[in-house]
C-alpha cells in the first residue's frame, strides 16, 4: 500500500515539475512551482524528515512562491524585459544537457552509496540531554553546527540590504514595496482579518516547539511573515520606511543575540557558542526567539522589495 502511495507521489512530483517547465505563461508556472514544493514536502514527510518538510512547505513553496508571484505581477507589461531575459533555443539545449548530465551523475552516485549509510544521527542524539533539547535537528542547528546557522542568519541581513541597495538613490529612506489600497470587503479583506490572529499563534508555537519537536525559528518566522504580508497586501498594515531604526534593529536582533550568546560562551563555558550545562536550553530559546523575529522581518522585507514610495 505504502509502495503504491510512494510511486504515485514520485510520479506526481515529476509530472508537476514537467508541467511547470512546459506551461506557457508565468502565472501558471508559479502555481506549478508552488504545487511542486508542496508535493516535495509530502515526499520529505514520507522519508521521515518532518523538519525538512516544514521548511520546504514554508520557504520552498510558500515564501519563494510569493516572491515569484510578485515578480510576475511586476513584469506585467514588461514584454521587452521578458524577451531580453528569455533564454535562446541554444541556451535551452545547453541547460537541458547540463541538467541531464548532472541528473545522470547523481543517479549513478546515489545507486553506489554505501548501505547502510554512515550517519551521525546516533552521535547527535547522544549529546542532546546535555543541551536540554529533545529535537536532534535543534541540537545540530544550535549547538554542533551553530556557526553555520549563525552565518546563515547573517546572510538574511545581507539579503535585505542587497535588495534595498538596488533602489534609485532618490528613494533611499522611503517605504519598501508597492502601496496596496485598503480592502474593506471581499475575500482578501476577510482573510487578512481572520487569519493573522490564528497564524501568529501558530507561528510562535512552531518556533517554540522547535526545541523538542519538528519546527523552529525559520519555519515559525516564515508563518509570522506570511501573516504580515497578508495584512500588508490587504492594506491593513503599513510597512515602516527603510530609514526606520526600529525596523533595522528587528532585522539584526537575531544574529546579534546569537553572537552575544556565542561570546558569552567565552566567559561562562568553554568558548564561542558553547553553552554551560544546565543553562543550554534557556540560552537556545533566547536565540530562537530573537531569530524568529528577525527571520519574519527579513522575509517580509525581501517580498516587499526595494524602497519605492516616499515615507
Amino acid at each position: 500500500m505504502s509502495l503504491v502511495l510512494d510511486v504515485m507521489l514520485a510520479l506526481a512530483v515529476i509530472g508537476v515539475a514537467g508541467w511547470t517547465l512546459l506551461v506557457r505563461g508565468n502565472f501558471p508556472a508559479v502555481i506549478g512551482f508552488v504545487a511542486y514544493g508542496l508535493l516535495l514536502a509530502l515526499v520529505w514527510v514520507r522519508l521521515g524528515a518532518v523538519d525538512v518538510a516544514l521548511t520546504e512547505a514554508a520557504l520552498g513553496a510558500g515564501a519563494t512562491g510569493v516572491l515569484l508571484l510578485f515578480a510576475v505581477v511586476r513584469l506585467r507589461g514588461g514584454k521587452a524585459e521578458i524577451d531580453a531575459a528569455t533564454p535562446s533555443p541554444p541556451q535551452r539545449v545547453a541547460a537541458a544537457i547540463l541538467c541531464g548530465v548532472v541528473g545522470l551523475g547523481l543517479a549513478v552516485a546515489m545507486l553506489n552509496l554505501p548501505d547502510p549509510a554512515p550517519s551521525l544521527a546516533a552521535e547527535a542524539t547522544r549529546h542532546l540531554p546535555l543541551l536540554g533539547v529533545g529535537n536532534p535537528i535543534t541540537g545540530v542547528l544550535m549547538a554542533y553546527r551553530g556557526l553555520d546557522t549563525l552565518l546563515e542568519a547573517v546572510v538574511l541581513v545581507f539579503a535585505v540590504l542587497a535588495i534595498w541597495s538596488m533602489a534609485p538613490d532618490r528613494r533611499w529612506g522611503a517605504i519598501p514595496g508597492p502601496l496596496f489600497p485598503v480592502q474593506s470587503s471581499g475575500p482578501l479583506s476577510l482573510l487578512a482579518r481572520v487569519l493573522p490572529p490564528i497564524g501568529i499563534v501558530v507561528g510562535i508555537h512552531i518556533a517554540w516547539v522547535g526545541a523538542d519537536a519538528p519546527g523552529g525559528k525559520f519555519q515559525g518566522g516564515t508563518i509570522l511573515a506570511a501573516m504580515g504580508i497578508l495584512a500588508w497586501v490587504a492594506g491593513l498594515w503599513r510597512l515602516p520606511p527603510v530609514a526606520s531604526r526600529g525596523l533595522r534593529w528587528a532585522v539584526v536582533a537575531g544574529p546579534l543575540v546569537f553572537i552575544g550568546v556565542g561570546l558569552l560562551g567565552f566567559v561562562i563555558a568553554d568558548g564561542f557558542l558553547s553553552y554551560p550545562p544546565g543553562f543550554a536550553k534557556p540560552l537556545i530559546l533566547l536565540i530562537e526567539a530573537a531569530m524568529t523575529l528577525s527571520v519574519a522581518a527579513a522575509i517580509v522585507l525581501m517580498v516587499a522589495g526595494p524602497p519605492e514610495r516616499p515615507a
Partner: protein
C-alpha cells in the same frame, strides 16, 4: 587534529567583521563608515598575530566551535596557506577602505545615503566571508562562506545602480548560483558516502569510488564557474569591469581566490591521490588556455577596465599550472610548485587590486577609459600610471616582483619535473602580458600638444593607496624565499 591554543582568534576573525556589519546596518549613516574604519586596525592586528603565531609554532591553529569536535562539530583551521591569505585580505581590505573614503564618505550630520551605507556594510560582509572561506575546515561551512561571498560581491558590484551593470551582474549571479548548487550537491554526496564533511577526516577516508568521483566533478565545475576559469569566464569581464573601482579591486583581487583555496582543499586534502593525478593535467590545460586566450583578448581591448578584467581571466590560469607540478612530484619540486601557486595568488591579489584602483582614478580624471585616447594620463594622474606600471611588472613576472618569484618557482618546478610544456606557457603568458601592459603605458606616457586638464580633481590619497598596493606586489619579490615557508605549514 586536536584544537590548539589561540583558536579564539579564528572565531574572532569571523565575529568581529560580522558584528561590525550588523551594528553598522542598524545604526546607519556615518556610523556604518566609522564602524568599518574602526575595525581595520583590530582586523589587521589579528591577521598579523595569527601569521606570527604560525611562523613561531610552525603548526596550524585549530578551533572547534562550541567545543564540539568533528565529525559532529565544526573545525576552523588556519594553516599556512589560510594565514597568508588572511593577512593578504586584511591588507587589501584596509587599502580599499582608505581608497573608498573619498567616494563613500558621509559628512557629519548629513542624511544617510544609499551607496555609502551599502558599501561600508558589504565591505565588512566580504571581509567576514573571505575569512570564513579561508578558515573553514568543513565543506558545508565553506558553502555558507561561498554564499556570503556571492551576495556581498553582487551587491558591491551593483553599487552604481546602472541598468547595464545590473544585466552583467545578473549573469554573474546565474553562474555563481549554478556553481553553488553544483558544489552543494557534491557536499551532500560526500556526506552520504562518508558521514562527515570535515576536510581532514574526509582526507583519511576518501576512496576513488563512483559517488566520490561524481561529487568531485560537480564541486570542481561549480568552483571553476565561480573562479571564471576558461571557458567559464564569460561572466567575468563585464561584471568586474563595470563595477565601481573599489568593488572591482575586491572582486578581481580577492573574491576569486576564495574559490581557489577551496579547490586546493578539495583536491590536495580531500580527494585520493589517484584521482588528483588524473585530473591535474586537465585543470592545468584549462589554465594554459586561460592564460593564452585571456592575454590575447586583453591585448585587443579598446577599454582600460575591460583590459584589466581580461588580464584577470589570464592570471587565474597560472593558478592551475600548479596542480600537475605538485601532484606526483618529488617533495622538493612539489614544495616549490606549491609556494609558486600560493605566491601567484597573493601577488596577483595585490597587483590586480592596485591596477583596478589606478584604472579607476585614471578613468575618472579623463572622463573615459579608451586606451587609444589615454595621452596625458601620466601628466594628470602620475602616481596612478606608476602604480599601473609597477603592478604590470608583477603580472608580467619581471624581477624583482612577487609575480616574478611566483612564475620563477612554477617554471623551475615545470622543468625539474620534466613537464617543460608548462614552462612554455608561462613564458608566452609573460610576453603577452608585457604586450598589453606596455600598450596602456605607452599611450598614457605620451604627451599631448594641447594642455590637458582633469575632468574631475585627482584625489592624491587614492593615488597613493593604489601605488602602495602595487609597491607591495613588487616588494613580495624581495622577500627571501624562506619567508614563504609559511604557506607550507600544515600542507
Amino acid at each position: 587534529m586536536e584544537a590548539t591554543p589561540g583558536g579564539f582568534l579564528l572565531v574572532l576573525m569571523l565575529v568581529v567583521p560580522v558584528t561590525g556589519l550588523l551594528l553598522g546596518f542598524a545604526l546607519g549613516g556615518r556610523l556604518a563608515e566609522r564602524m568599518a574604519l574602526w575595525l581595520l586596525p583590530p582586523g589587521l592586528a589579528m591577521a598579523a598575530v595569527l601569521v606570527a603565531g604560525l611562523l613561531h609554532a610552525k603548526a596550524p591553529v585549530v578551533a572547534f566551535v562550541g567545543g564540539w569536535a568533528p565529525p559532529l562539530g565544526l573545525a576552523l583551521r588556519a594553516d599556512g596557506l589560510a594565514a597568508a591569505m588572511l593577512l593578504t585580505t586584511a591588507l587589501i581590505i584596509a587599502a580599499i577602505a582608505l581608497f573608498a573614503r573619498a567616494d563613500y564618505t558621509t559628512a557629519p550630520g548629513a542624511p544617510e545615503a544609499r551607496a555609502p551605507l551599502a558599501f561600508w556594510c558589504f565591505l565588512l560582509a566580504l571581509w567576514a566571508a573571505l575569512n570564513a572561506a579561508f578558515l573553514g575546515g568543513d565543506l558545508f561551512n565553506l558553502f555558507v562562506a561561498l554564499e556570503m561571498l556571492t551576495f556581498g560581491a553582487l551587491a558591491l558590484a551593483c553599487l552604481d545602480g546602472k541598468a547595464t551593470q545590473f544585466k552583467a551582474e545578473l549573469r554573474y549571479l546565474l553562474f555563481a548560483l549554478i556553481g553553488s548548487v553544483l558544489y552543494l550537491l557534491g557536499t551532500v554526496l560526500l556526506y552520504g558516502a562518508y558521514g562527515t564533511l570535515d576536510i581532514l577526516l574526509l582526507a583519511e577516508a576518501a576512496r576513488a569510488d563512483a559517488p566520490t568521483i561524481v561529487a568531485a566533478s560537480l564541486m570542481t565545475v561549480g568552483l571553476l564557474g565561480k573562479m571564471a576559469l576558461f571557458p567559464l569566464h564569460l561572466w567575468l569581464p563585464a561584471a568586474h569591469a563595470g563595477a565601481p573601482p573599489a568593488a572591482s579591486a575586491l572582486l578581481s583581487g580577492l573574491v576569486v581566490k576564495a574559490s581557489y583555496v577551496l579547490l586546493l582543499r578539495l583536491w590536495f586534502w580531500v580527494m585520493p591521490a589517484a584521482l588528483l593525478l588524473a585530473v591535474a593535467p586537465i585543470l592545468a590545460l584549462l589554465g594554459a588556455a586561460a592564460i593564452l586566450f585571456g592575454s590575447l583578448v586583453a591585448l585587443r581591448q579598446a577599454r582600460l577596465k575591460l583590459l584589466v578584467a581580461y588580464s584577470t581571466v589570464a592570471q587565474i590560469g597560472y593558478l592551475f599550472l600548479m596542480f600537475p607540478l605538485v601532484a606526483g612530484s618529488a617533495a622538493e619540486v612539489a614544495e616549490r610548485a606549491w609556494t609558486g601557486g600560493a605566491l601567484q595568488a597573493i601577488s596577483h591579489a595585490f597587483a590586480k587590486a592596485a591596477m583596478f584602483l589606478a584604472a579607476g582614478v585614471i578613468a575618472r580624471a579623463l572622463g573615459h577609459d579608451r586606451i587609444a585616447e589615454l595621452q596625458g594620463a601620466a601628466r594628470i594622474a602620475p602616481l596612478s600610471v606608476l602604480a599601473f606600471g609597477l603592478a604590470g611588472l608583477s603580472l608580467m613576472g619581471i624581477p624583482p616582483s612577487g609575480g616574478f618569484s611566483a612564475k620563477w618557482l612554477l617554471l623551475q618546478a615545470a622543468l625539474d619535473s620534466g613537464q617543460w610544456w608548462w614552462a612554455l606557457v608561462i613564458v608566452a603568458g609573460g610576453l603577452l602580458t608585457g604586450g598589453y601592459v606596455f600598450r596602456v603605458l605607452s599611450a598614457a606616457m605620451q604627451g599631448r600638444s594641447a594642455p590637458i586638464f582633469p575632468l574631475a580633481p585627482v584625489d592624491a590619497a587614492q593615488e597613493r593607496v593604489a601605488l602602495g598596493l602595487a609597491v607591495i606586489s613588487v616588494l613580495l619579490g624581495l622577500l627571501p624565499l624562506g619567508a614563504f615557508g609559511l604557506v607550507l605549514i600544515g600542507r
